[in-house]
């Protein structure tokens, strides 16, 4: 009796999983999105062949695919060169040392051109830095603004004024301030990296700040009263009641913030010639070879896919953190 009661749910779940493996289950699920993509590619091919630019024909799907492969190949060629460079250097130094143990050996860093894939990583690291920096300020400040009407009233005008400012307006200021204040001997970060990250942070700040404020301010009044009756200390109150209650809104803010940050980053890199995907696009544009448009199109698609994946990542994180497992998250 109890035995069946225990096994039944897991059996059911297994049956469900097994059913999902059958093509009749997942084919219809994928059919419509695939159809959409196919229609888009056909439309792209059709219109690309009709657009003639000064750099040649607008790239269609096939050219873009070729360029994607080229960019990958270039990356690995560059890596091979790098490995070879270090091997040569090591060998040279070893020879020098064997000839004269007191000889001064030089260790040089390889200074090749960053490839497309290097630029992707640079951009990802930069956006992550800006995002973390922004939210280390935005979440605590948002909690304060949500908890206290006074703090909110004090910060609200500033928030309202700086929120709509385009990142590109910040960029010159950030650049000047960074180059004026950040001058250490052996810098941990490059200035360009700091410029981009701070510009991203200045734009990432607002969505999280505003959403956290709203989330914290709209906590159920009864729950706040329960906390007051228990005489919880402010820190415990924030940790046990405010933060869990505001988690959904904080995550809404974080997702908006990351999306904004990613968009802003590309623009900032383009404008300031800071390393990253934006610079890649700009360099290709200046380069103006017949392949440039195809390579830019690859960058456009990659930027889109990465943006999508970043959002999915946040959504997964939200699902992990959220206490309300029934909530529909999209």
């Amino acid at each position: 009796m109890t035995d069946t009661a225990v096994t039944l749910p897991s059996q059911q779940r297994f049956a469900q999983m097994a059913a999902f493996l059958r093509p009749s289950q997942w084919v219809p699920l994928l059919l419509v999105p695939c159809l959409g993509i196919i229609v888009f590619i056909l439309f792209w091919q059709f219109s690309a062949s009709r657009i003639e630019t000064s750099l040649g024909q607008f790239p269609g799907p096939v050219q873009v695919w070729e360029q994607l492969q080229n960019l990958g190949a270039e990356h690995f060629r560059e890596r091979d060169k790098e490995v070879a460079f270090y091997q040569r250097q090591e060998k040279r130094n070893a020879e020098k040392l064997s000839a004269d143990p007191q000889a001064a050996v030089k260790l040089r860093n390889y200074t090749g051109k960053p490839t497309f894939i290097d630029q992707i990583f640079t951009s990802l690291v930069t956006v992550a830095a800006g995002f973390v920096l922004a939210n280390m300020i935005a979440i605590p400040l948002g909690v304060l603004c949500g908890l206290s009407t006074g703090v909110y009233k004090a910060f609200n005008p500033i928030i309202q004024i700086f929120k709509p400012v385009s990142p590109l307006a910040w960029l010159p200021l950030v650049t000047m301030v960074v180059s004026a204040t950040y001058s250490v001997e052996d810098p941990l970060f490059q200035k360009a990296f700091l410029n981009s990250a701070i510009t991203v942070a200045l734009c990432c700040l607002w969505p999280t700040l505003i959403n956290t404020t709203v989330g914290v301010a709209s906590i159920d009044k009864d729950l706040v009263n329960v906390s007051r009756v228990m005489a919880l200390s402010p820190l415990v109150h924030v940790r046990k009641i405010v933060l869990p209650a505001a988690i959904p809104m904080i995550f809404t803010g974080l997702r908006l913030s990351l999306a904004t940050g990613w968009m802003v980053l590309i623009a900032a890199e383009m404008l300031a010639q800071n390393p990253g995907l934006g610079k890649f696009v700009w360099d290709e544009f200046q380069n103006g070879s017949s392949n440039s448009l195809g390579r830019i199109m690859v960058a456009v698609l990659v930027i889109g896919v990465i943006g999508f994946m970043l959002d999915k990542m946040m959504l997964t994180l939200q699902k992990r953190v959220s206490w309300d497992k029934q909530a529909v998250l999209r």
Partner: protein
């Protein structure tokens, strides 16, 4: 006059919403002995919750004040635990953790970790909820949630237990069950309780005194009814009991006849004109019986 355990003296409150002043309470006086069970009853919006919140320290009285054991109440605190109308459990904490939040706060210094764990389990057992300790509030029924809310308050060992319509949102059967468990817990532990209710039977069954409030604005205590029924009380036996029926009648009379000022005046004038025509049943009585059956 001796100093009472809980002393509500001359309490009045004026709310200020966008510059518009609203006087909710005026000159509320109530004194409770230790271990006494008092019900607050009155029409919706008259200010019962406001009285309770002032005792809890969640609202500040505009004039007058509350003293517990001779000490003035200024802030909310765990010595005056409140069960809110809609359970108010933290939805992200399990049943156990909800109670633990209160217990860890109150007994942080006086009980060891193991003792606290035992104390939490003991309080959940009091309300028969030990079987659902690891569930989230969203996964248990409304009646169970309310029981956990009560366990959370009992676990704080409050001097005064404040219940704001604790069983209002429950079905009649669950309500009866919870009333019985509340009654036995209160008898066993000797808590001092103020309970708000809309249910006349509940008030008579549970209380030592029933405090009946007049309608707002400027609501105050209209009448206080002593309930001298012997304890332990049994709802089935009492249903037939003449004393019980009489008390119930008195509360209903207060609520539906004496205190619906406008309505009773209207009824009075109609009745006056009718009385001139022929001898018909008195207005009070007809109003009473009709509302009485509704409430029952």
């Amino acid at each position: 006059m001796s100093i009472k355990y809980l002393d509500i003296t001359g309490v009045g409150i004026e709310f200020d919403t966008n510059g518009k002043k609203y006087r909710a309470l005026q000159n509320v006086n109530l004194k409770l002995d230790k271990g006494e069970f008092v019900s607050l009853i009155g029409h919706s919006g008259c200010g019962k919750s406001t009285v309770l919140n002032i005792v809890a320290g969640l609202h500040q009285a505009t004039e007058g004040g509350v003293a517990l054991e001779g000490k003035e109440v200024l802030d909310p605190g765990p010595d005056r635990a409140v069960v809110f109308q809609n359970h108010s459990l933290m939805p992200w904490l399990s049943v156990y953790d909800n109670v633990a939040l209160a217990v860890d706060q109150v007994f942080r210094k006086t009980k060891s970790r193991a003792e606290r764990r035992q104390w939490i389990e003991h309080n959940l057992q009091l309300v028969n909820m030990e079987h659902a300790m690891d569930k989230l509030p969203g996964e248990i029924s409304g009646g169970m949630q309310q029981r956990v809310g009560i366990a959370r308050c009992l676990a704080m060992e409050p001097k005064v237990l404040l219940l704001d319509e604790p069983f209002g949102a429950l079905d009649a059967l669950t309500r009866a069950q919870l009333q019985d468990s509340l009654m036995s817990i209160q008898t066993a532990l000797g808590n001092t309780v103020i309970m708000i209710t809309h249910d006349v039977d509940e008030a008579v069954l549970l209380s030592d005194r029933i405090v009946m409030m007049t309608n707002g604005p400027a609501a105050t205590i209209g009448d206080i009814l002593e309930v001298n029924l012997p304890r332990p009380r049994d709802r089935l036996e009492l249903a037939e009991d003449a004393g019980f029926v009489h008390l119930r009648q008195q509360v209903l009379e207060f609520l539906y006849a004496k205190h619906d000022k406008h309505e009773s005046q209207a009824v009075q004038s109609v009745a006056d004109s009718c009385a001139q025509l022929s001898a018909i049943p008195g207005p009070e009585k007809s109003v009473l019986s009709s509302s009485g059956t509704q409430a029952a």
